[in-house]
Amino acid sequence: MNHRLNSGQSKAAFLADVLNKTLYTIITNCSKADGVRDYFHVGVVAYGGEDAGNGFQGALGEEALHVISRLAEAPLRVETRSKKLAGLNGDVMEQPVRFPIWFEPRSHGKTLMCAGLNAAIKILDQWCAAHPSAFPPTVLHVTDGHPSDGNPEPAADRLKSLATNDGGCLLFNLHVDAGEGVPLIFPNDERAIKDRFGKALFRMSSLLPPHALEAAARKGYDVRPGARGFVFNAGIEAIADFFDIGTRPAMSADR
């Protein structure tokens, strides 16, 4: 994944930014007066090159999943980013913001999607066994290409069959396009997709649960009954919204 966006950033770099921002947002949402509450266990599986492995490095590289308070303590580094804001009269203003980095973009090698999904299955199988009454795991899968290690549908089916007493694992798929193709956001009909590989990703995707449907509708998406957690040909806006909507399991204010 090394195509350039209009901003000059590669897609892989923008995706890494969105992932890092999402982790930071989750930490912020879990921060209460008494500290960061461990409402979430979070992991990143990165695949590409020759294998699928832990997307975290350094102190977090040892384990596949971490409690969110551990994540809060151990970013790789904290950068200062110049964030663009829309000012009055349409001027662009820039504001320095602290930007913690947990995950760094890499883009090389093959698309070992089956290996990536199988690594996720191994992690989630154990997690579900250890947390039988928890809200089931959510998997956000991001890809730009055709798998180079075989048909990923059986692995996706296995992943979705993992469950807690509260329901099956949710698998949401984000397909990121190189160019300016028309994005297809949360479709409910496979026929809307021409691309053979896109059709497979549609079938691999879970139905959007009610809390995600609501979040998508609030963002202005026309979500129909049967809408899947799937975006095809995502542009930067859809990438940001996918992460936002996909990481909002129902959370009541205080537990």
């Binding site: 829309a86 930007f99 028309v182 930067i236 940001a240």
Partner: protein, 279 residues
Amino acid sequence: MAYQAEISRENPTCILFVIDQSGSMDEISEAGRSKAAFVADVLNKTLYTLVTSCSKSDGVRNYFDVGVIAYAGSQVRSGFGGALSGDIVHPIHAISEHTLRVEERKKKVDDGAGGIVELKTKFPVWFDPKSEGGTPMRAALGRTIETVSGWCEQHPRSYPPTILHVTDGQSTDGAPEEMADGLRQISTKDGQALLFNLHVNTAAGLEIVFPTAEADLNDEYSRMLFRMSSPLPAHLAKFAGDKGYAITDGSRGFIFNGDPQCVVDFFEIGTRPRLVADR
């Protein structure tokens, strides 16, 4: 070797856009906009990019003479309005000074910190979309021949003219092939005029991009547009290859069933004669 002339203020090159504005261009594409509106946006953006690439500290330098020929119904006319409507071709400096209007558009961009910000941008408009009537392609190419031959007489040492022709259908005033042949025979000392054809479609057809052989195409209409198109000169072939298109020796400047991304790339590749930074 052809297509080597340096583009300078003394020896500018000519870029001519020939745009089909027939009724079928009002078909709505997947993105919910008409083909005509989308092509107009891309053309306006391309003109702005040409102006920008000629803007130096001393003003807009005349590296390019640019024209738009619009055709529909019984009309072949300049695609420019206002002060520019009298002639087809104008120096880029004059174009920079005579927009129809400058619109304010909103654009969502990467905010640099993993988010999106909606910014207002200025969008200069020179060309408005229209879509009505038949497709007088022969008449349009006839007018193009007149324009290009006059220009070449005046600029014998220049990089030859590039013609980007955008259409979505069949000619309604007779076969255009011989006109295209005549157009490609007009030349400067640096080579023959380049005619690149872009066929745009909204239907779910598979696009054929920069084909090398007539046999790659499966109907007579697309084969004719192929024959009408110039091979891509080496520097444009390389540029198209860098954009990820499969280019082989003999690839033509022709796209059939182009989707929106193809339209954008076609304009970008076609308007990329070698520009050296400062002359």
